[in-house]
Amino acid sequence: MSESPLTFGQDATTLKKVPNRMARLPPMKQRYSIFSLVRNALNYHADWQEAWRSPDPKPAYDVIIIGGGGHGLATAYYLAKEHGITNVAILEKGWIGGGNTGRNTTIVRSNYLWDESAHLYEHSMKLWEGLSQDLNYNVMFSQRGVMNLAHTVHDMQAMRRRVYAIQLNGIDSEILTPAQIKEIVPMLDCSPNARYPIMGASFQRRGGTARHDAVAWGFARGADERGVDIIQNCEVTGFKIVNGTVQGVETTRGFIGAKKVGVVVAGHSGVIAGMAGFRLPLESHPLQALVSEPIKPILDTVVMSPQVHVYVSQSDKGELVLGAGIDAFNSYAQAGSPPIVEDQLNALIDLFPAFSRLRMLRQWGGIVDTCPDASPIIGKTPVQNMFINCGWGTGGFKATPGSGNVFAHTIARGEPHPLATPFALERFTTGYLIDEHGAAGVAH
């Protein structure tokens, strides 16, 4: 993990011990700017304020959010900012952003086929575009473009259908010829003699990447500033449910009462739902990713190939960041099998022969909660005053601000946000599925 000045406050060894009654008061946050950076540089970065408090849990809250990943933190942030609900706790069993938020490949896009998804992901994209300013925290959102390659006639047909659907929804998307692709990504093997020749691509120029840790930390800082208690190392072990209405949660730090509970726990959604006594249409799978050794700038966009089956981008540190599909089996182990890694490296070298000389640095896995229709579930649960936001599967990072925004609305009003309404759990009973396996892309 890099030690840029903006992340200095998260280093546990630098946190000053304060008594917890002091920690109860949300302090005024210092503004981050070029001037504060210079001023703190003169003091060897020893005086940065901590980005959030670590209070003990209160006996009860208006809202408890279970899960301190990007989506949970964003939910708490927007609850406080847009709905004035600040008596909120986020319960995180590990540490902030230590799950899928810190394990994804940081890609942001809104090129989805169906109206429901297009509107939801575009809502998120618009929030991304102002997020660093809104949070006063540089999330390093870089609109470097996301390119999806087509290798067969059928790829081209499906791609055109999706691009036109996206355009009709007022979202930017275009079709590139092989010559245009070659101009944007000179390293790509665009020759007609390639094993899977590239016939075209769809391109969303507003898509790109963001710094995933900064997203978690920025939302945490913003929520904390507005009075939200972020409680780490606090695992939920059960619920108190009376007459079908949730009254609070049992945790490893004791019982905490709550008027409303929002569940945002990604891969462990099924486990939490089991504690509350209902079932979900989810299966948890490992999704693996890996990074190469850092190299000079070579790839200034995101390239995906659903057919050859890999996607790759280059991080600001110079590492190639790549991923592909889930491991087929159910797992909670945050680790997958080597054949998945081998397959995606084969695919990478098919597309970029020059990358065959690179060495890979790190490989890891996260647990994703996949839905039968590759779309998320946002809304009410069979338990009164308990809400759930899950099923983002392999592509939740891009939705972080939008997901938090519509989920906060859903919790605050007790009714789904208009953009979230189609994504209710009931769609599996009504049959109104939102099949996004195509747009979900490489990861399926």
């Binding site: 099924g270 486990v271 079932r279 249409p281 299966e283 948890s284 159910n330 909670y332 039968p372 009973t429």
Partner: protein, 98 residues
């Protein structure tokens, strides 16, 4: 990487197998599905146990004998605790140790 003991071919590399998800989901009979509500259909078609612990699941030896069978596997340790034929009931396992 799993070493899966195919009941017909013996131990083989995971790469030879396909995954068939949760086992022992009983397909409704004709008499039942005349009576089933939408919620019951949703439960049969979509809702899954997604167990954290010992999971009973189906595998197929795609690149071998191409036969289906059941596996009891721990979803955190990935340990395979039992392999048994299609149609057999789930074995009683000592799950206390995990």
């Amino acid at each position: 990487m799993f070493l899966i003991n195919c009941p017909y071919c013996g131990p083989r590399n995971e790469h030879e197998f396909g995954y068939g998800h949760e086992a022992h989901i009983a397909r409704p009979t004709v008499a039942q599905y005349e009576q089933m509500s939408d919620a019951e259909w949703a439960d049969y078609l979509f809702m899954r146990k997604n167990t954290k612990g010992v999971h009973f699941e189906r595998w197929v030896h795609t690149k071998g004998c191409r036969r289906w069978f059941n596996v009891a596997r721990h979803t955190v340790t990935h340990e395979i605790l039992a392999v048994y034929e299609m149609g057999k009931p789930a074995p009683q396992l000592d799950t206390e140790k995990k």
